[in-house]
């Protein structure tokens, strides 16, 4: 028997609790607005909490994200729902009605104390999506060390129902029979901050990103570089060898019509440079090469960051990588056509290769439903007044923040989230005046 539908009311419904959703929520709540913030993942923090350090200041991503996460969690004007899906949002008489489902964590959140005994007792290991499958987690586990909230999720598809977690739990909060909880919410305005996905690593067949263990994605590289990464250091996935020669292949998911991603993803040059710098810090004698088309270091302080990387000895090679293969020891071999020095294509062997994948929208209205916002040719949600009010979507009262309208770095995302908050607040004021 599922429980009765819960009713909620807020000034603004914010969908997505990555850095854009967190910032927009805080900027509105600090002005006294009541916020309902809904996140589909077990923890708030989005993609950013997954990163190692961030350009161009090299602050650790956690240092920038966790305080905002904590502020949101403790804010008296923010009602936070995690591990919760928004199914549908409709505009009725100028108000938004949302149908929302809180997915079962299979435990009573009001009783759970986050002690992790269940996690310790569990005997089933699964690939850890937080570490992009480089590491393992238990079938019942808290998403990551500084997750908010500190409640585990039980993966019912993989659970053996052995009962070890329930026995270990000091508050008897595990409930294998828990049902989804339906919620209906009413809000005056909506901010969508649904973020991005990386382009598929398998998309470019010539690169074999899904076949070769030592050809990895940028977010996997982030985890290798993170202080609490899966291996506790930079090692390559196939054999744990510490790599001596690391290559970055730029535009491996962007500026490529054959992948359906003709646009530039804006962040890949900078994250590759940042990762290269971090690598050269932790592996001082390693050779690091970045194969690129154009280095797009356009933000504030970014060009200087790029010049510092060059001065550190990171090799920047203007070249196109035609294909990637591997030798019997899983060393990736790059077929490279240089645009400098010599035009003869050559094969270069590296120990580890990172493909600079691009950004695609995580949520596409035409494909995923929820709310019918117009999209552009690039499938990102379209701004109807791009130059003057970039956060304005095709539906009155619905505003967009962050990478759901196009690739964007963290700085631009945070600024745009503030702008979306301003638009939402002014929209509410106009509505009240009517």
């Amino acid at each position: 028997m599922s429980a009765a539908t819960i009713q909620k009311k807020a000034d603004v419904l914010v969908v997505g609790a990555g850095i854009a959703g967190l910032q927009a929520s805080l900027d509105l709540a600090d002005q006294g607005k009541q916020i309902l913030l809904v996140e589909s993942q077990p923890s708030i923090g989005g993609r950013m909490i997954n990163l190692s350090k961030v350009f161009p200041t090299l602050d650790c991503a956690s240092c920038i994200t966790t305080p905002r996460m904590a502020s949101v969690a403790h804010h008296p004007s923010i009602d936070l729902l995690t591990y919760t899906e928004v199914n549908k949002i409709e505009r009725v008489n100028g108000k938004f009605h949302a149908r929302i489902t809180k997915k079962p964590r299979y435990l009573d959140e009001t009783a759970c104390i986050g002690c992790k005994r269940c996690e310790e007792a569990c005997t089933t290991y699964l690939p850890d999506e937080y570490d992009h499958s480089l590491g393992a987690k238990k079938a019942i586990s808290i998403a990551f060390t500084n997750a908010i909230p500190q409640y585990p999720v039980l993966d019912m598809d993989e659970c053996l129902l052995c009962g070890a977690c329930a026995k270990a739990c000091p508050t008897q909060c595990i409930n294998f029979m828990q049902e989804p909880q339906e919620i209906e919410a009413e809000a005056g305005a909506v901010i969508m901050a649904t973020g991005y996905n990386l382009t598929e690593i398998s998309a470019k067949k010539q690169y074999g990103g899904d076949k070769y263990p030592n050809v990895i994605s940028p977010l996997q590289m982030e985890r290798l570089l993170a202080p609490h990464g899966p291996y506790g250091g930079v090692m390559r996935p196939s054999d744990g060898k510490i790599p001596d020669s690391i290559a970055f292949v730029q535009c491996a998911g962007s500026r490529d019509k054959s992948l359906g991603v003709p646009y530039c993803s804006r962040v890949c040059c900078m994250y590759a440079i940042k990762q290269a710098m971090l690598l050269s810090g932790s592996l001082p004698i390693a050779d690091i090469t970045i194969y690129y088309m154009d280095i797009r270091a356009f933000g504030k302080g970014y060009e200087q960051f790029y010049q510092n990387a060059k001065a550190m000895g990171i090799q920047f090679v203007k070249a196109k990588v035609g294909r990637i293969s591997e030798d019997e020891n899983h060393n990736p071999i790059l077929r490279v056509e240089r645009q400098e020095d010599c035009s003869q294509p050559e094969d270069v062997t590296h120990d580890l290769v990172m493909l600079s994948l691009g950004m695609v929208p995580a949520w596409i209205p035409d494909r995923d439903g929820i709310i019918p916002l117009e999209i552009g040719e690039d499938r990102f949600v379209r701004s109807v007044n791009e130059k003057v009010t970039p956060s304005l979507t095709s539906m009155e009262g619905v505003f967009a923040a962050g990478t759901m309208t196009g690739p964007k770095d963290i700085v631009d995302t945070i600024v745009e989230a503030g702008a979306a908050a301003t638009e939402a607040a002014n929209y509410l004021r106009r509505q009240e005046g009517r």
């Binding site: 956690s62 240092c63 060390t145 060009e303 970039p390 600024v415 702008a419």
Partner: protein
């Protein structure tokens, strides 16, 4: 600001000092260099320290919970966190203290990252010893700290926006719609700023003048207080209560009181020096803004004629005045080169190239670039279109910047460079006309920078507090920035920044009062002998004055600089939170001799 106030003062004179020390690993940022466990063990032995712990991320929720639990369960009444710079997280932890019911000023943030682990890599033992000394000093300081209360001032619900360009109008409108009073000050004789120079804008191909009219009409219909032909004469006061003196073109001064200020002072075009790629010496060398103006009204034609001569070959050079390298480029007036990328010029250049080819399809166009940075929505299309239309691209490097040589007949020029795209072949490009893609430099606002002591970066643009934590705020409380005064941006990005600063102003002024940190001078009237030495040192008008034979402080105006403290013979003045007694304790702790043998560097 969001925390409910819960600072009941449980403290009294006789209460035992119970310090909790928390050492953060900051992931590995600190713990890879500093032995955090050793710091904890050493601190446990210090007087007044009741609890010492280390944790992976103190700023995370579980980290903050450690502190809150110890305050509530173990009666800890003073907190020291040894972690990153206080500019990052001092406020974070103060809020945690408030949530636990402790006065938020009984908190000391010790920086063992920027000032220790980051600068002592590879010297782990010495870095650990330093962390112990710094943390011990923090303990001594906070042990001598009494509870403080923030200074509360009234906030004027009015905002002065300086600069009537797109960003300024955008911010002013957003603030007005939030219900705040707004005065928009523009130096020129009309609103619109640099956008007025533009024809159509990428990627929407709207006319820039339409964008300006759209905003200007909104400004006019909302009846905002707009002051054209006006400049700032003087700004005094502080957050919540700025007194802004505005001088009009007849030099008449008007005064406006504002709770906050938004700077939207914009940019200037980089002006090439005489002879830079022939600029100023040859009439056929022009900047991109000059070229755009030139072709704006030209009709479509088979021929492009300029100064009576047909132009067949037109060359564009990127990165003029941007991405400069020391030792290669001529320094600017302040001796520095413009290292930064101006962000908009690549797309602006390719946008212009396409527009030029629309009008003059027979032109040969050469594009000399370092990297093509068409990063934004729709930008790449202009690059692709230009390539397809037969524009020839040459890529130069800092080792081979195009060399300009005027033609012998004086009517054109040759550009010589090594082209990376053809494996460093030396190429000579004939150009009947040359367009320089000049970048952005900040508007000349040295009067404001001096008057308000505004922070600027090495790029001379206004410097935000932190690019991610506080991207549209200056260190000066109550002063926000919008648009290109912060750095190169296009119209979309400027408008987003304006919206973000409007949010910050709205938060600041959403309540009628503003709380400020209480770190200001306090005078012990019993000790003050009225010598007035302090008055001569105080630079802040009205902050320090004499009455009843001893010095008085206006806490709203005092910035806590400490100049008065330094000259006071009887030590009668102290900065709250930074008293002389606290400094004595810190110095003793830092210079202590008895370190654990293992901790003393060899």
């Amino acid at each position: 600001m969001e925390e409910e106030k819960n600072t009941q003062s449980q403290e009294n004179e006789s209460e035992e000092i119970r310090v909790g020390v928390y050492v953060c690993h900051c992931g590995g940022n600190i713990s890879d260099v500093v032995d955090t466990k050793a710091v904890v063990e050493a601190l446990k032995k210090k007087p007044n320290v009741k609890i010492a712990k280390d944790f992976v991320f103190m700023c995370s929720d579980p980290g903050q919970k450690l502190i809150i639990d110890d305050i509530i369960e173990n009666n800890i009444n003073r907190i020291v966190v040894s972690a990153c710079s206080p500019t990052l997280h001092e406020t974070t932890f103060r809020k945690a203290l408030t949530r636990a019911g402790l006065n938020p000023y009984l908190y000391e943030h010790v920086n063992i990252r920027e000032q220790d682990s980051w600068v002592h890599k590879g010297e782990n033992e010495a870095a650990t010893a330093k962390a112990i000394r710094l943390t011990a000093a923090g303990v001594e300081k906070i042990a001598r700290q009494d509870p403080l209360e923030p200074i509360v001032v009234n906030a004027e619900g009015h905002v002065v926006v300086i600069g009537g360009g797109v960003a300024g109008m955008r911010a002013a409108l957003a603030l007005f719609k939030r219900g705040l009073g707004v005065t928009l000050i523009e130096k020129g004789d009309r609103l619109g700023g640099r956008a007025l120079e533009l024809d159509k804008v990428y990627p929407t191909e709207e006319k820039a003048t339409d964008i300006v009219s759209q905003l200007e009409n909104a400004v006019r219909s909302e009846k905002l207080d707009v002051r054209l032909n006006c400049e700032i004469e003087m700004i005094e006061g502080f957050v919540g209560n700025f007194d802004v003196q505005i001088r009009d073109k007849d030099s008449k001064i008007d005064k406006v009181r504002a709770g906050a200020i938004v700077l939207a002072t914009g940019f200037d075009h980089y002006q090439p020096y005489e002879g830079e790629f022939g600029y100023g010496k040859s009439p056929v060398v022009v900047t991109l803004p000059e070229f755009n103006k030139l072709i704006a009204d030209m009709p479509q034609s088979d021929k492009f004629t300029y100064k009576g001569k047909e132009i067949k070959n037109l060359a564009f050079i990127h990165c003029v005045g941007s991405r400069q390298v020391e030792g290669v480029h001529q320094p600017q007036a302040d001796g520095r080169v413009n290292e930064y990328c101006s962000r908009v010029c690549c797309t602006a250049t390719l946008h212009t190239i396409n527009k030029t080819l629309d009008k003059f399809p027979n032109l040969n166009i050469f594009d000399l670039y370092k990297d093509i940075r068409t990063y934004g929505h729709g930008h790449e299309d202009y690059y692709e279109k230009a390539s397809k239309r037969g524009v020839t691209f040459f890529r130069y490097t800092d080792d081979s910047i195009p060399e300009y040589a005027p033609s012998p007949n004086g009517s054109g020029a040759t550009l010589t460079m090594k082209d990376v795209l053809t494996w460093n072949e030396e190429v000579s490009i004939p150009a009947d006309m040359i367009v320089l893609a000049t970048g952005m430099v900040p508007r000349e606002i040295s009067n404001l920078v001096g008057m308000l002591k505004l922070p600027t970066g090495t790029d001379r643009f206004l410097q935000e507090v932190h690019p991610k934590l506080r991207p549209v705020e200056l260190a000066n409380n109550g002063i926000m920035i919008a648009g290109t005064c912060q750095g190169p941006m296009d119209i979309t990005e400027s408008c987003a920044a304006a919206g973000a600063s409007a949010a910050k102003v709205s938060i600041l002024l959403s309540k009628k009062t503003i709380e400020m940190d209480p770190y200001v001078a306090r005078v012990d009237e019993a000790k003050c002998d009225g010598c007035k030495l302090c008055l001569a040192e105080c630079e802040y008008k009205g902050a320090l004055f004499m009455a009843e034979n001893y010095a008085h402080v206006n806490p709203a105006l005092c910035v806590g600089c400490g100049a008065c403290v330094a000259v006071c013979p009887p030590r009668a003045i102290n900065i709250a939170g930074w008293t002389l007694d606290q400094f004595d304790g810190m110095i003793d702790a830092i210079s202590m001799e008895e370190l654990e043998p293992a901790m003393v560097p060899a």
